[in-house]
Amino acid sequence: MGHVEHDKLDISTTLCGARLPNATVIASGILGLTHEVMVRVAKAGAGAVTTKSCSLNPRPGYPNPVVLDWGGGLINAVGLSNPGVEVMTEEIQAAKELLAPLGVPIIASIFADTIYGFGNIARFISEASPDLIEVNISCPNIDHRYQHMFAADPYVAGQVTRHVKRNTDIPILVKLSPNVTSIAAIAEAVVEAGADGITAINSLGPGLILDIETRHPVLAHGPGGVSGPAVRPIAVRCVQAICRAVDVPVLAVGGVMSGRDVVEMILVGATAVGIGTGVHYRGIDVFRQVCRELRDYMRRHEYRSLDDFRGTAAMPSL
């Protein structure tokens, strides 16, 4: 069998009904604030764009620094700053129009601070008709008034999912946290409650880094979620555990920097692959670069589409 032609390699994917021209997605919170920038990211090669997580009301977030490169990746406590659902609805509508000719879908990320609130915001954001809704129940930097993340308790995670599903007809991805003992158990709960797909992982931790000279945390908020190369093994393991536990598509996020990392995620079963911190390390052009590297791998292995190798990792002892 000869070599597969480079341009015949199909790296498209279908994520909960949305067709992505390629399997890369920009992760929520990275450049997803305004429609012009989201369109720029799509033009730079992303197969789908995700908005910054949006709440009912505008939030200024925490003071700076909100995100820093600490050597192993980023640490962030942005405080979920966003202009609120009203503005975000306009941004999504504007983006949709410009993304349509590119064939690039838009994922609206939402969050709230109560179970009911999630239902509300889902209803509002649906007016903008995003292709998918991503339900962020897993921000590690929530206010300490909330004892736990929503993503830490299977029952609560399921309830959030149910309320969102009741308030929208758009397929939903529920975004999970690695900061739990069994992410598979949470995945089972949200799928049972109706989640169409799962996004994993959100940032890890939180972690904490001090400036030892002033004895202050380097982030204004103190602790912050960890992302980037340092979390990749954790993310791969989470995605593998989720794909084994449930039967819905998984948008795999966490530490993906290269085509190699995309392949790794697909081998453990991912349907599409999110990139956040990678934009910092390789620029907005990361999407195009990663797709090229992915195609190189597929050509070498004579795979014609992602289905040819999705979920084929050998897992000895799991």
Partner: protein
Amino acid sequence: MSLPETVRITEIRRETRSISTFVLDAEIAQSEPGQFIMLWLPGLDEKPMSIACPSPLSVVVDRVGPFTMALHERRVGSLVGWRGPYGRGFRLAEEGPALLVSGGCGVGPMVYLAARASEQGIPTTVALGARSTAALPCASEFQALGANLVLATDDGSDGYHGYVTDAVRELGLIDARPTVYACGPEPMLVAVHRLCLEARIGGQISVERYMKCGFGICGQCALDGLLVCQDGPVFDVQELDGVRDFGHAHRSATGRRLPLR
């Protein structure tokens, strides 16, 4: 890696009633005029500040709100953090003279740019605008660098009476077809932009937008599809042509689009 490095303030020079130069015990190995650092006051906040001098690292800061006020209360010996340099700076044209147009606290990067121009033997005019004589910062620095200094004050207390951009136009400062470098309040930048396009001369304009990360990740500093922290803060006049928000809208900390001023 972009963790802030904490260093001591080694010198504070008062420039005007509200503007001071802060010299830090740090050096930036490689930077361009127009690039900025993120200046951190531990426990408080962190804000973008243009590099006024890379070695020793200095910034010229106008007291306008909580952060800059807190900085002005710091003394020599206080610890502050910095990270950077970030962004794209001015690219000095090799041909022809340079005209630096500066208003308000836009003076920091201009001091650095004038120094660079002087090093490269580029004939330089600095047009400096302020409310009044007392608010004109760093004038002596520019003179020491051998620049031709043109002052403009809103109240006429020194130099040209009126806006600095009007001074540029009326005093014929673009007759020699200089490359124009501008930094200051956005209305001034819009005027410079128009001037350059009309006169068909080269121009580079440093724009400010609300910043969080400073390195192209958060999307907060969006100016239409441009990221000011990474694509800018310095843009060619041409790049700003047709940019909807330029002169019209900026974004708050929430990301909400607000009319300028």
